[in-house]
């Protein structure tokens, strides 16, 4: 529309037009630049986090505290800053919570995909989806008021704030993660095999157990990995109900402390530099684990290479 107004002399019209086009081009690259800037900022924050944690954990190496941090005793007043009990605590808690949640999760997925009546699938998955929205702190709160006294009543030698209590509560929190992941994978598989296996005369339950289960193994692994990492990363439930004693537990009724709650506790109470170093070391460990989990998940996904999705016509 620009052109008609300027048509008096073709050359000047052309220059005006070129200038206008350059302006448009600049605008588009300006917008692209802004978007790129935002992306770099978002993604760069990962590096910033890693950088800060490393920077504050650095003195462990330069001052030669590594052996102290990686030892089995935490007694800050006697100069003992070992975080290994917390590492064991995190691991034990995550493993036991998974031990409860994973079978439950599989059972629920099986129920929704052929083992249970079809009409209950919708409400069940709705409930599981809803569980993702329950705040963690509320799990912790109810557990403190309800489960802790229950455990204390059942095992009088325990205070109730224990590995067991935390594991049970935590399993409820990670359950939806597991269910939703496996469910998504089963749905994909289902779409592929439903007709074929129905044509062979399998019942839905049989289809699930002998046709879909082997095909869904990636989803099963992914759910295990992600559920485990969520259990490991949780702070609040462990902090509220696990008791927080820095020790290697001997029984399910012992009190334990995780790396995550260790960080929260030290920030709230201690302020010696070595105590701080120990929490940055804990932070780095957690960061490292989350990266490892991520790469594992990526591998699982990339193996599940989907058929090409491009349409050429």
């Amino acid at each position: 529309m620009l052109i008609q107004g300027q048509a008096s002399s073709p050359r000047t019209a052309e220059t005006v037009l070129q200038a206008h086009w350059r302006h448009l081009d600049r605008r588009q690259s300006g917008i692209k630049g802004l978007l790129l800037g935002a992306t770099i900022l978002s993604c760069g924050s990962v590096l910033a986090i890693l950088g800060f944690l490393s920077y504050f954990a650095l003195p462990i190496f330069s001052e030669g505290h590594l052996a102290e941090i990686l030892s089995w005793e935490w007694r800050p007043f006697q100069g003992k800053f070992g975080i290994l009990p917390m590492a064991v605590g995190s691991l034990s808690l995550a493993v036991t919570a998974m031990g409860v949640a994973y079978p439950l999760g599989l059972g629920i997925c099986g129920f929704a995909h052929g083992l249970g009546p079809r009409c209950l699938k919708g409400p069940l998955m709705g409930l599981i989806n809803f569980m993702t929205s329950i705040p963690t702190v509320i799990y912790g709160f109810v557990s403190v008021i309800f489960l802790v006294p229950l455990v204390r009543g059942a095992f009088p030698e325990s205070t109730g704030y224990s590995w067991l209590t935390a594991a049970l509560t935590l399993s409820l929190m990670i359950l939806p993660t597991i269910v939703l992941l496996v469910h998504a994978q089963l749905q994909q598989v289902d779409a592929r095999v439903r007709l074929a296996s129905a044509a062979l005369g399998f019942s839905p339950a049989q289809t699930l157990l002998w046709v879909m289960r082997p095909l869904a193994f990636r989803g099963l692994w992914a759910a295990a990995v992600l559920g485990f990492s969520r259990a490991l990363g949780d702070t609040i439930i462990a902090l509220m109900v696990a008791g927080n004693a820095p020790q290697v537990p001997n029984s399910l009724l012992d009190s334990i402390r995780t790396l995550t709650s260790h960080i929260a506790l030290v920030v709230a109470t201690d302020s010696t530099s070595q105590a701080y170093q120990s929490i940055f070391a804990s932070g780095l460990i957690l960061f490292g684990v989350s990266i490892a989990v991520n790469l594992t998940l990526r591998r699982l996904q990339s193996r599940a290479a989907l058929p090409a999705t491009g349409r050429h016509d």
Binding site: I3, L24, D313
Partner: protein, 259 residues
């Protein structure tokens, strides 16, 4: 079809040794062609022979796909000036406005029938709000659609029938004052009657535009074409005039070539 016009052809599209590839695989090889204003050229060929890719080379839409590469020279005469669109380029949006394209299936914008026309007119041409309605009406008249939709301009566009949708897409193009029209099997998804309507429309438009249409049907080509280009494996293997197309023996050869 009416008597043929005295030939006073004004070339508007010149393609010289065009190569297009995706992800390292070449799809068009050393393609040469020439097209004129007031002249309807039909492209024929097996599916997968590169017809769509060729059309998309003319408005640089191949660049929307990952890892496309284009070589060669492609000159268009726009506003009376020759431009090599891959070099002395105008901005892509400007190019694409002047080289309009209709796809094999109707590609609608979200929203109502009126939205489909008004949004591009407003955004691309910058037509002021008060002139938009008349422009919409004009374009719908051009596409022989006005009488069918004038009472339901605000209905969702996807409630139209397939043929109406395709003509809506054409109207949307025409509203933007293009100079070259690229039509990629515009009637492939339509029934015979709807297809005839679109054909009729194309014939009424061809005086004023350069039209390059891909067709999936030989009989359609015979009804429409001033010239036909036969594609095979990414090159033009044959060029047929209107008379050639009507001759029964070329027809036989063509049928074997294409289908």
């Amino acid at each position: 079809m009416g008597p043929k016009k005295p030939v006073d052809l004004e070339p508007t599209v010149l393609v010289k040794s065009l190569h297009v590839g995706f992800a390292g695989r070449e799809v068009l090889h050393n393609l040469n062609a020439k097209f004129n204003r007031g002249w309807l050229a039909v492209v024929l060929g097996r599916s997968g022979s590169g017809k769509t890719t060729f059309l998309r080379a003319l408005n640089r839409l191949n660049e929307c796909f990952p890892r496309s590469a284009t070589r060669g020279s492609l000159k268009l005469k726009l506003q009376g000036e020759w431009r090599d669109i891959y070099r002395n380029a105008m901005p892509l949006p400007e190019l694409r406005r002047r080289v309009g394209m209709v796809f094999q299936t109707p590609h609608l914008l979200p929203g109502s029938i009126a939205d489909n026309l008004a949004l591009p007119v407003k955004l691309v041409l910058g037509v002021p709000r008060r002139n938009i309605a008349s422009r919409v009406e004009w374009a719908l008249e051009e596409a022989h659609l006005w009488d069918e939709v004038k009472d339901r301009l605000n209905a969702p566009a996807h409630t139209l029938s397939g043929g109406q949708q395709q003509r809506l897409c054409l109207a949307r193009l025409l509203a933007l004052e293009p100079e070259i029209l690229l039509l990629d099997e515009p009637t492939a998804s339509l029934d015979f009657r709807a297809a005839l309507k679109v054909e009729e429309l194309l014939l009424s438009l061809k005086e004023r535009y350069t039209i390059i249409a891909v067709s999936h049907s030989l009989s359609q080509a015979r009804r429409l074409a001033d010239e036909a280009l036969i594609f095979r494996d990414g090159s033009v293997v044959q060029r047929l005039s209107r008379e050639d197309l009507q001759a029964p023996d070329t027809l036989q050869a063509l049928l074997e070539e294409i289908f």
